[in-house]
Amino acid sequence: MPEVRLVNVTKRYGRILANDHVNLTIRDGEYISVIGPSGCGKSTLIKNIAGIIEPDEGEIYIDGKIVNNIPIEDRGIGYVFQDIALFPHMNVWENITYGPDVKGFSPEETKTIAREIIEMIKVSARIDAYPDELSGGTQQKIAVARALMSRSSLMLLDEPLGALDLKVRSVLRYELRRIAKALGITVLHVTHDQEEAMSISDRIVVMRKGRIVESGKPLQLYMKPKNLFTANFVGEANFLVGKIEKVSEKGLLIDIGNGLKVFSTEAKGNIGDRVVVAFRPEFIILKEKIDENAFFGEITRIVYSGSLVRITVETTSGDEILIKNPLKFGEPPPETGEKLTFSIPPENVLVYPYPEAGLHKELSLE
């Protein structure tokens, strides 16, 4: 059964380090997503595993066997491309049976697998249709079917939904996970869409500048990211800079300037440390009166995005804080210029040491 292990995989393009000593183990049957801003090296990573490019350093193991220098066709992988890449001169049937044909499956075997896969994928297209007669979503489903046909149990998905419409994407992503789980295959799914990764993965790997920043279960990355960059990239967060004023058993009290203080249940830190405080805008509670971890401010901007209201508040300390609140029926939403009191639950306040490179640089998506 396929377990993929990368040891110190490094790939350079000129002076750019696309993969910088990447170490990663993908367990058998795991659905793993790699996310990161564009240019972070996630595509290079998946291409290294597939053999489309060869790493400059490091080893790649599939199923315990080292696969460096083994040609693409002998690695036993399924690969789905962002630009779909169904062969334009072949119809649906010829496309999905291409793998078995070149691998030398018997025609009966090919037919059996094809029927099974077509049923599982729920393709509605005629098998004699040509790719350019089908919608993008259907094309990509067939591309997935084609990759599954060769019975390989490791699937590499390189931004498979990137070229599709939003609606189609949100349906197809669950399909991908359902199929993977039904067949018990191992999947590495590369995407720049953190929401997509959150909703379907067993585990998420966050990459930045050729390195793995953090990996973990989706909820863990969301609730307790170990890293400032992850906190910013997965979901949204407010960031405030401050100094630890008091360390107690219950947590830390952080001075964020102008006499304002934030309490966090996190326990690591020393008095006087410069820190960054992060909290998610959707965890902020709107309140009537000021008590613990409560702030006071004036609404400077309101944006409606679907079911949410995004409220930007300027606090008395001059910091801008974003609050996300569900839009409720019958309750008039707040207006610009209104004064607002809100509090941040201490267990949701994350504390990070102030980054050496500066906050702005640490959060940057470059």
Binding site: P71, I72, Y79, F81, F87, V102, G104, R146, A147
Partner: protein, 565 residues
Amino acid sequence: MAWKIIGINLSGIVISCTLIAFLIFVVLPSFYLISYIFLRWDEVWYEVFANPITGDENWRQIIMILLFSFKLSLSAVAFDLVFGVPLAYVLARKKFPGKNLLEDLVTLPLVIPTSGFGFATLITWTSSSGLSRLFGSTRLLSMNTAIPLINVPFILFIVHVALTFPYLVRTVETKIQSIEETYEIASRTLGASSLTTFRKVLLPLSIPGIFSGSVLAFARSLGETGATIIVSGVSTTASIAIVRWASEFKLSTAAFMGSLLVLIAWIMILPVEIYVSKNRRSSWRHLHIPTNLSMKIIKFERFLSRKLSIVKDIVPLIIVVILIIIPVVVVISSVTLYWSADPYTGRVEGGVVYQLFGPSRYLDLILRATLTSVIVASISTYIATCISIPLSFIIERRRYGHVLRTMLKVPLIIPTSSLGLSVLLLWGASGLCLVNSGIWMIILTHIVFSVPVIVESIIAAYEGSGVQMYEETARTLGANAYSAIEAVSLPLIKGGIFTGFILSFTHSLGETGATLIVMGRDTTIPVLVVNMVEALAIPAALFTSTYLIVLSLVMLVIIRILTQG
């Protein structure tokens, strides 16, 4: 408002003037030959089929010569396909040091005047100063040594391969570049070896390119005159026969042969054009290969993919070296060898210096021919450019544009000697009687094939730079149609115009086949090489060939600089 009225009139005048010039200078000469056959059928019948003395001897000769030409051209194209397609693939997909140089080398025969190149190849293989120096024998081959099986003289064959190779390689290369590499990677991830991928994915997708490349190469080989006339020995190809008959004033026979060639070229190119222009899907998938056999093929390909990856890269390279580099090197080294005297007999009369400056005064002839060539190339390219710029705009913007573009293919595939004959019959004494053989008729002939060359180059630049979009942007910013063209479109396609100009200038400098027929008493440099070879003034021919090759290398460098900038 006033602008608008003037505007309509202006564009109408420009379009009609361009179209009239196009019809008179390009279309009419390309089609005249065929109509000549119908107009003068009595003469043709009398001369070709029912001559009172020789009977249908001419007709039998035509058949024999055509068959030989076909055999030669088909085998050259077959060779091109076997080695040119892999080379095109390597050039399109791989990155390696020296790639630009290799591309230039492949393109060289397009630029080198063919008679000079033919002479270089001849010297390389048959003379004592060529390759035989390496092997120690006095001469490696005779001019008429034939390749077994196809029974075509070896030298003739390799010259035709070298001259047609670039057409196939460049066309297929462009086609492969337009196919996304993802298809190949997808095929590899599905378990196909690189050779299987090539056969099942890349080849079907690049079939249109391979077809048009082959047709171009075939037409080129069928019509090649300059090099062929030098290396053909006792063999006669169709285009040489036309030159010979025209010089013997057997105009009707020559015209009949010429129009047969034009028709054949058309019959070949039309189905391919239609095939290529339609959005075709694989037509040979119905070609059923039994499972066992296809498994064996796939296994064999898997084996070969491993073993032969380097061979595939190296063999085409060796062919390029043998066919193109060695002749050029040999001809240049021979000039130094023969510089002061014949190296074997030691006679000064056999040296380059004596022939150039001695009593035969070949230097004067060379200088005179250079002047003629430069005048012809400058004037014909200038006129052709003036027609081509507005014509390219018309082709891109009018609905009937694609018809004009297809018509422009005719001068490209017509054998050059047929074209020359057509111009001679149209403008000359037996036709409209407006121009006599000589420099002006050469110019008229060169305009015919210069226009398509320049137009193709401009269109490539036009389509590659998104002119339409920028021009529309300029219009939304308030520019009128004319200032938009002047300030936006022309600067954008400037590179294409320059490249086309240089290409056509070079083409005109090197043209032999048509020039031989229409030149009268004026001589261009490539024709001079032919004359020198016929007069057995070998050292002078060596010098002139080197001169031509150096000239065209300079042109190639200029093209390179222009297309990169």
